[in-house]
């Protein structure tokens, strides 16, 4: 699977679309290579850059037994049409799947309009929505194969690039997280999600003194199993490309709080600001913010010792 994660995901979607006449695909003028050849299909709808209308139409389409999948940039598919998502999709609990491309700083040169670092929690606030945060080819393959078997509205954050670092992992989509153990007696854990899971994995391969938990399902994951897993560790770091309040931190903290679990705990995440910085690569931005692999290594060194 040495393909771009988006091609893996959308190739599967295209195949499903062609076999199932109940599936509609909609976009706000976003371009995805795998879907180019079905752009003229009558069940493919490009509304242009009109996101409120996009979500309303998808909601109306899903009113009967139809299923709709919408794709576009994370930031525009969430912030620009939030009320439509909340009320028309959420309150009717519709079978709408929203696929956001460009999570985190993956579009590093386009400024804060394209930095998706709060969208995750924004959607988390809509009770009916499930969220999957995907930056792993293998996981993208599994999720896209099963996407229409999961009922109700789902927001999927889909990363970009060849992210083929976990090809042997058998993900449990229901459980919602996966633990990568490096050393049996490790007492240190990094909890992460999306693209940062790859960075943490790479670093743990080098350092071997911490394990990595990939929390890829953000709403109805198996919370008691998650807590049991965390309780086996003394020191925990949340490492997130999103901001503190915009990402996975409040989700995890609320579980720890509810179960009165208080490990030694640190959060490494994006600052709460709109970043008017531009870079040719995501890594450059991460370096600026001291969130790249090397910075992570420095920050965890003292904490884990």
């Amino acid at each position: 699977m040495n393909k771009d994660i988006r091609d893996i995901f959308f190739d599967n979607i295209r195949n499903k679309f062609l076999k199932d006449s109940k599936i509609f695909i909609l976009t706000n003028d976003a371009d995805v290579y795998s879907l180019q050849r079905i752009k003229n299909h009558k069940r493919f709808i490009d509304t242009g850059v009109a996101e409120q209308n996009l979500i309303n139409i998808a909601a109306g389409l899903s009113h009967s037994t139809n299923k709709s999948l919408i794709y576009g940039f994370c930031t525009f598919l969430t912030f620009r049409c939030y009320e439509q998502l909340k009320f028309n999709v959420g309150s009717h609990n519709l079978n709408c799947k929203i696929v956001g491309v460009g999570p985190g700083y993956s579009f590093s040169n386009d400024g804060p309009t394209h930095h998706a670092i709060q969208d995750l929690y924004l959607i988390y606030l809509i009770p009916e929505f499930e969220i999957y945060n995907i930056a792993d080819n293998n996981l993208a393959n599994q999720l896209s194969e099963n996407i229409f078997n999961i009922s109700g509205p789902i927001y999927i954050r889909l990363d970009k690039g060849i992210l083929n670092y976990n090809s042997n992992e058998k993900y449990n989509l229901k459980k919602g997280f996966a633990l990568k153990k490096k050393y049996q007696k490790n007492k240190n854990l990094i909890i992460t999600s999306g693209y940062f899971n790859k960075i943490a994995n790479d670093l743990s391969d080098e350092m071997k003194n911490f394990d990595v938990l990939n929390l890829f399902r953000l709403k109805n994951f198996n919370k008691s199993m998650f807590l049991n897993t965390c309780q086996k560790y003394k020191n925990i770091i949340i490492y997130d490309e999103n901001t503190f309040f915009g990402g996975i931190t409040p989700i995890i903290q609320s579980i720890f709080y509810e179960y009165k679990y208080s490990p030694k705990f640190k959060v490494i995440c994006s600052p709460e600001k709109q970043l008017f910085k531009y870079a040719k690569s995501r890594n450059e931005i991460l370096k600026l913010l001291k969130l790249d692999k090397l910075s992570l290594k420095k920050q965890i060194y003292n904490f884990f010792i």
């Binding site: 309303n56 139409i57 109306g60 389409l61 439509q84 009320f87």
Partner: protein, 266 residues
């Protein structure tokens, strides 16, 4: 001819009765927006009793009441049609299950939850594409057309030649807080540029409403009907009175009004 005459009279009587029932629901303590409900009552009665939307039938045309605050009229119709018993309405109301917002979960004849303005045209487009043989009707308020999503929807209908949506704009010239008699976007020439069929008529004249239904009966294009109406229509105190846009009269005033109408039925 005779049938038409009967239908007109039936609808005119129905409108009077629904106005009475609606006010009685308010007197019982239910809170509805009086002004905007009474301005679209005639159109709703004609839609739901005139054969365009036959709620009793399974495979029927669809209806979105985009100006959801006019839902009291919808409930009065459901009760009158015996699709919702008054007992069940009271129970739902007592148990906080129905109130100021349409909710598909508790009453099956409601096609869409509404309350936030400007959503219905886009939703109607989705329904229209999914159900090409059905007509999708939506009533929106004239203040609602300030929402950008209304125009996103209208442009899409025009560009994609969606053929089965009928948008009815309740032009009562009063928003929740202001007089809005000047709305240039409702100019017929401007709307004509969207290449949609435009109708403009008095929304309190049953004859005109039926003529409109007749002219869209067999046509295969989406339409916009701007119906000129009076906010609070039918009750002098409420007519064009901004106080009753969403404000409630006191019980004594309401009782007097209802008593006056009641005499008509005695």
């Amino acid at each position: 001819m005779e049938n038409n005459f009967k239908k007109k009279n039936f609808l005119k009587e129905k409108i009077k009765f629904l106005r009475f029932s609606f006010l009685k629901l308010i007197l019982e303590g239910n809170k509805y927006h009086i002004g905007g409900s009474l301005s679209c009552l005639d159109m709703m009665a004609c839609l739901l009793y005139g054969g365009e939307i036959q709620l009793e039938k399974k495979n029927r045309n669809l209806f979105i009441l985009s100006k959801g605050h006019a839902l009291g009229i919808f409930y009065a119709i459901l009760i009158d049609k015996k699709l919702l018993s008054k007992k069940r309405y009271d129970l739902l109301s007592r148990n906080n299950k129905i109130g100021g917002q349409l909710d598909v979960k508790n009453i099956k004849y409601i096609d869409w939850n509404t309350g936030s303005l400007g959503h219905s045209i886009g939703v109607a487009i989705g329904m229209a594409i999914a159900n090409p043989k059905k007509k999708i009707y939506t009533i929106i308020g004239d203040a609602e057309i300030d929402e950008g999503s209304v125009w996103e929807g209208l442009f899409f209908i025009s560009e994609q030649k969606i053929k089965n949506i009928h948008i009815i704009i309740d032009r009562n010239k009063l928003s929740a807080s202001s007089f809005i008699e000047k709305k240039e976007v409702l100019d017929k020439n401007f709307l004509n540029s969207l290449k949609l069929k435009i109708f403009k008529f008095n929304g309190h004249k049953v004859e005109k409403i039926l003529q409109y239904f007749e002219s869209i009966k067999s046509n295969r294009e989406s339409t916009i009907a701007i119906i000129n109406t009076i906010k609070g229509n039918g009750i002098k105190l409420f007519e064009n009175n901004i106080k009753y846009s969403h404000g409630q009269p006191d019980n004594e005033t309401l009782k007097k009004i209802i008593k006056k109408i009641n005499n008509y039925y005695e």
